[in-house]
Amino acid sequence: MEKIFSRPESLYDLPTHYCPGCGHGIAHRLVAQVIDELAVREKTIGIAPVGCAVVAYDYWNFDCSEAAHGRALAVATAIKRVHPNNVVFTYQGDGDLAAIGTNETIHAANRGENLTVVFINNAVYGMTGGQLAPTTLLGQKTSTSVEGRDKEKHGYPLKISEMLALLPGVVYVERVSLESPQEVLKAKRAIKQAFENQINKLGFSLVEILSPCPTYWGLSPKDSLEWIKNVMQKEFPLGRIK
């Protein structure tokens, strides 16, 4: 019998450390699948963030670097400039990319660095215990916004993808979601597009992935997917932004 679905070579055969219902496992796999399909595993250098995905390199079967919190795009800029024919991507959470690393994010994008960014938006800081993130929704309760995010105190959810889309160096921005198998397939197509853009030397591409964090949303895995669909996607609408 022909085997038509298996673990990508770019992904090690290991159980992950992620919580039940977490989106990172799916996102890791999508990245690995795309790298296999594009046959660039031996050319790929991934940059892992600080956050829940810090040990992404334990799961990916290709060269990887850690970066200090928020600095992934500075590290990636240099690696890509040194090895312009390699495929270089960052995998970053919302705190990493849109809070502590906003400066590095905006300037790498504005330089039009020929990089791919996989941006995981789960609306909280997961690794440190579910604190308020730049992307936390208004009213959303976190350990540092105990009454819920209040626009007077905490400002609004930061739409970094829309901001980046304004920059001429940015060629592609799309927001996708992991709330259903159909959306996961769309997410994979977007990630593939973002890698193809780099291979075709088009410039800076970013895919924002709305990803569940049942643990710090205080919801079951199933309800988390519902929450993405019914609540989070209203604030962060899906689709191609640029």
């Binding site: 250098i45 670097s65 200090a68 600095r71 240099a78 690696i79 400066n103 590095e104």
Partner: protein
């Protein structure tokens, strides 16, 4: 080939030394008094090399982290407040064992301080500076020629020990123009690095990291770093000593301050005063050998453009055997020849 002698500032000499050493990646952010260095790199970096004016010092040092992880000989430069901003990145570079060269052309502090020359970042440079148990090799040139030469040495040491190397100068050294004899040798070839990130073709994946979460792993790794530091301490002490054998008073100074001290020593020697000089060239590892004197009555006079930082290392090296005195000024003040001579005459 004829030797080429040119008149350049210390900042430019460091840049030229880096290019001679095969530095192919530079990222930096403007700050006085090291702006000639970044400008020189922008102008002279060969076409195949990479120059980036970063958006901040944290971005610059993390670019150096990335370029070093990718196997390039890479450098950044800044001055005191900028170096403070880079400390996180330097700690990560040390933790990931990435060879790189970081230049600090010191100015007055704390805070925004001023743009006058100073030596008040000695503690930060020699104690690691950022978080964690780590060291950089710290090289302190005393002239533009030595800045040119030591920068090249710095790249070699960084690669040899997989360690960040700091070139520690001050605003006078950086700005002062002096004749420098350039090397007639070919530009150095960046040595092959089997651990570097380049894509895992034909090998297992390489990982650049400093994260060791599993119990015991970080301690094992830190012990490996410590072993490397011990090796460096045993092999890489560098210093200059002058008229030490019969000296009654030995001045201890580095960098620009050693230039002034040297003038004082030769002036006093010309009138028969028994004065000598020890000039540490590596500030970490701090030279131990020259401080082990037979004559316990010899006195040391440590002089710095700070209120006493290197003097602590002299105390550790002397270990109570001899008396140690100190003369220092900071915040733009530089101990003068007259101040030194007056202090020495009280000690003689």
């Amino acid at each position: 080939m004829l030797k080429q002698k040119i008149l350049i500032s210390g900042n430019e000499a460091i840049a030229e030394g880096a290019l001679q050493a095969g530095c192919s990646f530079y990222a930096g952010y403007p700050i006085t008094p090291q702006n000639e260095l970044i400008a020189y790199m922008a102008k002279h970096m060969p076409k195949k090399g990479i120059f980036i004016q970063a958006e901040s010092e944290p971005a610059a040092i993390n670019m150096v982290y990335g370029a070093s992880a990718a196997g390039a000989r890479s450098m950044t430069s800044s001055s005191s407040p900028g170096i403070s901003l880079m400390q996180e990145g330097i700690s990560y570079i040390a933790g990931a064992q990435l060879p790189s060269v970081i230049v600090n052309i010191m100015r007055g502090g704390p805070g925004l301080g001023n743009i006058a020359p100073a030596q008040s970042d000695y503690f930060q440079a020699t104690r690691g500076g950022g978080h964690g148990d780590y060291h950089l090799i710290v090289l302190a040139p005393g002239s533009a020629q030595e800045a040119y030469d030591l920068t090249q040495t710095g790249f070699d040491l960084a690669d040899k020990y997989r360690i960040p190397v700091m070139i520690l100068g001050d605003g006078i050294l950086g700005q002062m123009m002096e004749p420098v004899t350039l090397s007639t040798k070919k530009i150095k070839v960046n040595p092959a690095k089997s651990w570097a990130l380049s894509g895992c073709q034909g090998r297992k994946p390489n990982i650049a990291k400093s994260f060791f979460l599993r119990e015991g792993d970080l301690e094992t790794f830190n012990l490996k770093l410590q072993k490397n530091y011990e090796l460096i301490k045993n092999k890489e002490e560098r210093y200059e000593s002058l008229f030490v054998a019969d000296a009654k008073v030995i001045l201890v100074a580095y960098g620009t301050m050693a230039r002034i001290a040297k003038t004082v020593v030769s002036q006093l020697r010309s009138v028969g005063k028994k004065v000598g000089l020890i000039r540490p060239i590596t500030l970490w590892p701090f030279p131990q050998k020259p401080f082990n004197l037979k004559n316990k009555r010899t006195k040391f006079l440590v002089t710095e453009m700070s209120y006493g930082q290197m003097v602590d290392d002299v105390k550790l090296a002397v270990n109570g055997r001899n008396k140690i005195n100190f003369l220092g000024r900071s915040g733009g003040g530089v101990p003068s020849q007259e101040e030194l001579i007056s202090k020495i005459s009280k000690l003689l």
